[in-house]
Amino acid sequence: MNVDVIELSESRAQFVLSGVSSAFANALRRSMMAEVPSLAIDDVNIYENTSVLYDEVLALRLGLIPLRTDLDLYVLRSECKCEDGCPRCQVSLTLSVEGPKTVYSGDLQSSDPKVVPTETDIPIVKLKKDQKLVLEAIARLGKGKDHAKWQPAVACGYKNLPKIVISGCDRCGACVDVCPKNILKLNETVVVKDEIKCSLCHLCEKACESGAIKISADPASFVFSVEADGSMPCMEMVLRAADEIKKKAKALTKSLSGVT
């Protein structure tokens, strides 16, 4: 197994994972999307709502706001010892506004200063004069497989590592013009600028009359592109995804130990 990190920031990551089965790569991808928990508003207690939106629509919009999540501080409700909600498994956010005003995610007042909306300028509803909104939102940890609001990865995918082989090029330049990613350049022969950007569309192969360019994909190398919603740093999300798979493997080993 080999890992090469190409890009890594708070919200984006790109890395090449090679020497693993496609099953493992896919498990990692699925784990990021559906198994890594994150915080999202789950229940909304509405005290007053004279806005133009129905309570349910408002609650849905609140639910989809990404919240900054520290997974060391919170546990899933199903794994919490309490019966109906405690500071270990839920956070309360309050919203109390009066029009005329556009209500933004930044108007939510959290009971835990660490758990705040990742973006403060997500519009929730526009209020006219005399319209009022008073509510308490309960945020909980959850998994992406239960609802998309708990998905820490907004985009996560991989492709096989492209391999471009050029031999016997006659410098016609047809492949350079046709490449949608502009990764080919005409020097002495055609050279590849950024192999990893190739989308494996094979257009250059079709344009090349002499058959000098060959595109293939390495079946054991995967170029991952990961984008996080900001609830946790990209790096933590990727590592937690591996943790979740490991947790499952460990749990299976444990329950198999009693079987003969």
């Binding site: 508003i41 229940d43 909304v44 509405i46 007053e48 004279t50 349910e56 609650a59």
Partner: protein
Amino acid sequence: MVYKCTGCKRVVEINSEYGGVRCPYCGHRVLLKERGTIIKRVKAE
């Protein structure tokens, strides 16, 4: 049950002896049901 007349904005009671729905103050026929005082819990999904 309390209603609000959309014509004169006054709070009115509906008189069941009178067959139709009508505001006793201004005669307006459109009455709105006000939101209750209970706290409503909705699921964010």
